[in-house]
């Protein structure tokens, strides 16, 4: 484990996870195509 999410998990669930998984399986590509659009650390 390298760390944790401190905010935004609810939105992750509602906007990406809730879309489901391709093929209706429980492990696969998200139906809502997802990519990292920004990342910062300090």
């Amino acid at each position: 484990m390298i760390g944790k999410v401190t905010s935004g998990l609810d939105q992750l669930e509602s906007e990406i996870v809730a879309g489901g998984i391709t093929g209706g399986t429980d492990d696969g590509a998200p139906k809502i195509a997802t990519a990292i659009t920004a990342a910062t650390v300090q």
Partner: protein, 226 residues
């Protein structure tokens, strides 16, 4: 009685024949040997190519793309199909763990339009956090996909960061060891952890996962989990 000239010539002929036959045998042995060496070499190449292909197939089907075993499947259940345990190994292309400076880092990670606040523990996971920091600093992560979403009872994670967008490994980048794995193999909601290939503690790379449902992931032969 002295041997006749005929006898002498006959003996010399026999000796020439023996010498010739001996040379022929040596030649035949050498030819056979060369042929056998060639066959062995070809078989060797085929074996190596097959192993390379199998390794690749393994890496893509069982590699970081499938790095996180589902709770129901324990790694020890299929020891014959996994590579030899590797709790030790070497790094390739990884930054020095001192990049993480042994401290806590804060930041943001945005997936599509979802901005996540993140906190990284550079003291407990110096090597992996250093890798993540560098992937942020050199903008490696921008545009990389989250190719894997897993959600079932007691298990929920999204995995991102592969170089090919499909969960494949970066052949020029891997590191270990496993850092800061939970003793009970349970990953709390919100955990950010490294993905890796089963059975190889030094197969961490760019890929990480975020846990959104408390997830139990069994330790494997490499020891610990993620």
């Amino acid at each position: 009685m002295a041997p006749s000239r005929q006898d002498r010539e006959a003996r010399q002929a026999r000796e020439r024949l023996r010498a010739y036959e001996a040379r022929q045998q040596v030649h035949e042995r050498q030819t056979t040997r060369r042929r056998r060496d060639n066959v062995i070499a070809v078989v060797g190449v085929v074996v190596i190519a097959t192993l390379a292909a199998l390794t690749q197939v393994y890496y893509f089907s069982g590699g970081p793309g499938k790095a996180v075993a589902k709770p129901s499947s324990s790694a020890s259940a299929t020891p014959s199909s996994t590579p030899s345990p590797s709790a030790t190994g070497s790094n390739l292309g990884a930054p020095d763990p001192s990049l993480a400076a042994g401290r806590t880092w804060t930041g943001t990670l945005t997936l599509n339009k979802v901005a996540l606040g993140i906190q990284l523990d550079g003291a407990k996971a110096p090597q992996a956090v250093s890798g993540f920091i560098r992937d942020v600093q050199d903008k490696y992560l921008i545009g990389k996909t989250c190719h894997r979403l897993a959600k079932s009872t007691g298990f929920g994670l999204i995995q991102c960061g592969s170089i090919d967008g499909q969960g494949g490994p970066d052949p020029a980048y891997h590191f270990g060891p496993i850092e800061n794995a939970p003793a009970d193999n349970v990953y709390p909601v919100g955990t950010i952890a490294m993905a890796r290939a089963s059975g190889d503690a030094y197969s961490n790379g760019h890929q990480f996962f975020i846990v959104f449902d408390k997830s139990s992931i069994p330790a494997d032969s490499a020891g610990g989990t993620r």
